[in-house]
Symmetry: C2
Subunit: 664 residues, 2 copies
């Protein structure tokens, strides 16, 4: 007993001693420690030594002991996996892949369950692939509220709505006017709108027009999808678009506080290049990069709402669109010059500063909302573009430029006055100080402070609540596109590398904490939210829950018994699910009959999910406690088809089965 | 300089001190430390404190610093995700989801690329869902050789082949005789065969027969798929099945060394229960659990090969099947009684012992191959079952029983003489000592040693190379079915929990190291291999590589230029891919024309993958360095469709695009 206590005190003391040493190192380590993220000798020792269970035990005792929940949740797009990823931070563990645009049988998504948007939209199972880019968490007063997530599909110009009560996709909408996007999704500060911005110029309304008419008939588009929070749906009839020139609109961010009511979009290809290298034209990569300045788009969406209210719109494919002419002449759309094929526009926590990453220019350029408003008021324009859009003078909108390094893309903010910009070509994150903002870094305004290497080719980055009005600081995740030599080689298609970076301390003290390989897609953008904001269901609130509508339906069970009702050529089956049997266990139909099969999980214990698969038929469901799902199919194949519970629900899980008999 | 060195030495000393303390704890910690996996005070301190970046930094410096590769790779089934998961051990990081039965756009799998088995098998995109259960790594002399992985789909009775040079699925086969499986896949010691065993009794050949004829006309099946290692394919013409009684065959394992030439299958439902609770029959969960003993199936596959060679088979759906009668009468099939609805049969490293988990019995039962052979020789039978299969006497086959706890399922082995059995109902792993085996535990033969709690409801477990002839010991992963309260709640469908357990030391010293949530499916079984065994490609060996056949094809580029060839109503396009443009950038076709589009990635740098998606069309590819892929589609929708590179390949990645013009 005495010995045992002594040992426990010793381990605690040992851990504390190690922290003290680390702390000393951190304060005194200087540049060398910063760049690699670890002092070189310690790194070499750690790398070269075979990792023993003792090492793992010692480390994980302080890091992630069993049962410790994560403080933050990262919502990352799955890139061209088409999904949304939910990752615990700081543990960097994948808590859930939310099926959005791609069928996912574990979640019973896209395999015949009638109550999901993929089935609704593509009843023939020919789901197009998606390239999810920017997830957006719903906001209230510019802070995440933990209720919904939205995400865009670049390939096909779609947006989707995910309900964070059950982490399931509730709606998928295709843009009726344009067939691609990039800057999607972003939300206004109270989630009035979900913003979707096109990438590549095309003829609006999906018609064929020769490329020679690019300037005249190809266009860009920004769409404001009205969100009904109570319904949990985007409402097309209350939404609208604004026609834009066929520059390549790129990323967007919604204004907040000082810039509330505005949306900002960076663009490139103001050259109006149309490619065609096979015809001797410059390829797009050259043709789009000639101009020294492109145009940041400033969009006054409150004024756009007024135009819509006053009927100043046309309809394309039955969707309301404000014309480029009306937008330019009514104060809805302005341009501000921005250097050179920029990629990324981000609004600071107080809403005053708009930060644009230069991509082909080593600076970030900071614009000021007060200056922009003054310049608009004073009509301080350098002229108009070829489409008649007023262009502010660069110096009339610009507040500062900070030279940060090669390939600056995206910027996030902390609670200590720093901004963090990803540097694609440098494979690094730059920390620099904001000026004239809510938070103040000790180094003063608009100063480059330090860089930390990432591995490799960083795209986006995400700090904790780093694009809200109240960033949390502490940690940042670099979303690196290449991992090269970081992990055990698992073939020519390599995982991405999400690196956790400590940004807790001021000055040159960023530290690389952890590499998270992710072999399930190419995460593009992410947002990190405090986990405590979530109000997720543990089980569905009532038995007979329709997860699609989030309402209770009548599960039609008399005394919890299964029933079969034959109506002409249709067989309706009502099956309650409880450990560990189906009721009925025998389903007998004639070949050619239509089957409507409704299954309800009667369980109230957390994690007691039942699944369903049926041999030979394209049927797959995940039915969480309380949930009701429906299948409709024609029994078109004669034979004996076992069905069973596909979630390991009890010791008698294998016995939870039945037969679908399809008689000749 | 001096100061900096001092700091570095101090941190190294600090780390070493902590290890020393941990070591002392480990040796003296006793029972209390074992059960929870961490000493309670340290655990409480760790859990209650907000995790600071310093904590993470300190822990990860020794655990998983950037750039440290994993020593082991775990290949886990994705359960009803339908995929195969590759996880680094000990870091428990998801390195890759290998798309097998489910389309996966990140890997360009199932979205129109002609060179993949999903497209080959289901050209209409109506892919059925799968429930992957047991991955099997290819073996040479009973050791993993790092070349191939095989995996079964329980729902539809399919098996798939994955080539570990590029971690891509090369073949999917449906069993021609039976429409479901469970014990699949398992390999013989030199991967002569991949074994697939059915689960639920059905009429063979997929015909309709009333359930009343269950005993007479429903059957089980074991299939031996011949594997051609050079081709990397299963060869149906060289494969065969053996008809089995309609007991529910369950899990299988292939004999090795002392038991080479045999396959072992546990079974339950020797009651021949047929369910139908809605008719007043006992539900399956009751009807299948009445007998105290079920039958382990002993299959002599070398003798079965002789029957096949001598023409003793029938053909069902053109597939060779040895009849139950011939199998019973020719020494191919024997039964040994096994207690009570067992789940799991596992062969020890020396091949002598067959361990069966009781599921509804608290024991594991150990059978001996020498005793079995003697009993067969001596015809020491207790009789025959109703189908004429000779049944060995229990005591003539049994070597020992060890009481391990409630719900014993599966067993793995280490290099110190211990076996590890998962206990579903206890939510624990039992360590017990083997007897009369290659390795000797200090506690002596057939003794229960200790248990460690898991969280919760463990199914399978996997030790490092724990089912080969040379297990490595050290670490074990518990594949828990429920996670309940372990992680931040992300809705009613919870992640699985894979727990890493230290088994490095003898006696009562198992320790819980780490919880890995996994929100991408329900991993069922896993195998863990030394990473050094792999010979994965870093890039494809030659430009113009067909990954499906693993051979070079003619990419048809004159001087690396794109070409377009119009042949009647078909447009053939040859596109080289290199950072950062397509050639051609304009693809012009008439509505209704057939397009054959061949794309080749000319890059030779690792990780320089290019992707392809096309707005409006169901097209998605991931084209790794050197690879050639082909799409064939009809341009049936008029309009202007941007296509672009969907992998972030360079700073000008967004500019790597083109247009598909479909003219009226």
């Amino acid at each position: 007993m005495l010995k045992s206590n002594w040992i426990r005190y010793t381990i605690v003391a040992g851990i504390l001693l190690l922290f003290a040493v680390m702390l000393m190192l951190m304060r005194g380590g200087g540049k060398n420690a910063m760049v690699s993220g670890l002092p070189n000798e310690a790194m070499e020792i750690a790398r070269s030594r075979e990792l023993s269970p003792d090492d793992v035990y010692a480390a994980l005792a302080t890091y992630m002991p069993t049962g410790r929940p994560d403080e933050y949740l990262m919502f990352a797009s799955g890139g061209h996996s088409g999904q949304l990823l939910v990752i615990g931070v700081p543990s960097m563990r994948l808590l859930k892949t939310v099926a959005v645009f791609t069928p996912e049988p574990w979640q019973g998504y896209g395999y015949g369950v009638m109550e999901n948007p993929l089935q609704e939209k593509y009843p023939d199972s020919a789901y197009p692939p998606a390239d999810t880019h920017h997830p957006a968490l719903s906001e209230t007063n510019g802070e995440y509220d933990g209720e919904f997530a939205f995400i865009g599909d670049k390939t096909n110009g779609r947006v989707a709505v995910v309900d964070l009560r059950d982490f399931e996709t509730k709606q998928i909408l295709s843009n009726p006017v344009i067939n691609n996007n990039h800057g999607a999704a972003f939300v206004t500060p109270n989630t009035e709108y979900v913003v979707e911005v096109s990438q590549y110029g095309v003829p609006l309304g999906n018609k064929y027009v020769p490329i020679e008419k690019y300037k005249e008939e190809y266009r860009g588009l920004v769409t404001f999808w009205k969100f009904d929070r109570k319904k949990g749906r985007l409402i097309p009839d209350q939404s609208f678009s604004i026609e834009l020139p066929p520059y390549w609109q790129d990323l967007a961010d919604c204004g907040k506080l000082a810039s509330d009511g505005w949306v900002f979009i960076n663009s490139f290809n103001t050259e109006l290049a149309t490619g065609g290298m096979e015809k001797g034209n410059p390829p797009f990569e050259a043709g789009t990069a000639e101009n020294d300045m492109d145009y940041m788009h400033l969009i006054n969406w409150k004024k756009a709402e007024e135009l819509i209210s006053s009927g100043k719109f046309q309809k394309i494919n039955n969707f309301r669109v404000i014309s480029l002419k009306d937008a330019s002449e009514s104060g809805v759309l302005y341009f501000a010059p921005e250097p050179k094929s920029p990629h990324g526009v981000d609004i600071c926590p107080c809403g005053e500063h708009i930060v644009v990453g230069g991509k082909l220019d080593p600076h970030v350029t900071i614009f000021g909302m007060s200056k922009i408003k003054q310049a608009i008021e004073a009509k301080d324009f350098e002229g108009k573009d070829v489409y008649g859009v007023p262009i502010l003078k660069f110096d009339a909108a610009k507040v500062a430029q900070v030279e940060v390094g090669l390939g600056p893309l995206h910027t996030q903010f902390d609670d200590q006055g720093y901004a963090y910009t990803s540097l694609f070509l440098d494979s690094a994150v730059a920390r620099w100080s904001m000026g004239d903002c809510k938070f103040k870094a000790p180094e003063g305004d608009w100063k480059m402070i330090s860089k930390i290497q990432t591995h490799y080719n960083i795209g986006h980055l995400a700090a904790v609540e780093g694009d809200t009005v109240k960033p949390s600081g502490k940690m940042l995740v670099a979303l690196n596109k290449w991992s090269m030599d970081r992990f055990t080689n698992v073939g020519p298609l390599l995982p991405q590398n999400l690196q956790l970076i400590d940004i807790n301390n001021t000055g040159e003290s960023m530290r690389l904490l952890y590499d998270m390989p992710l072999g399930v897609g190419e995460p593009h953008y992410a947002q990190i939210m405090k986990a405590e904001r979530l109000k997720a269901f543990e089980v569905y609130p009532e038995i007979g829950w329709n997860a699609h509508t989030q309402t209770q339906v009548d599960p039609k069970f008399a005394g919890g018994k299964g029933t079969v009702v034959v109506k002409g050529n249709t067989v309706e089956i009502y099956t309650p699910l409880i450990r560990s049997h189906f009721d009925p266990e025998h389903i007998e139909v004639k070949k050619g009959q239509k089957v409507i099969w409704k299954l309800t999980n009667l369980e109230r214990t957390r994690d007691t999910t039942h699944g369903l698969t049926v041999a030979g038929y394209r049927i797959g469901a995940s039915i969480e406690p309380g949930e009701t799902v429906t299948f409709e199919f024609v029994a078109d194949k004669e034979g004996v088809y076992p069905f069973y519970c596909s979630e390991f629900c009890s010791a008698l899980h294998l016995e939870m089965m039945g037969y679908l008999f399809v008689k000749p």
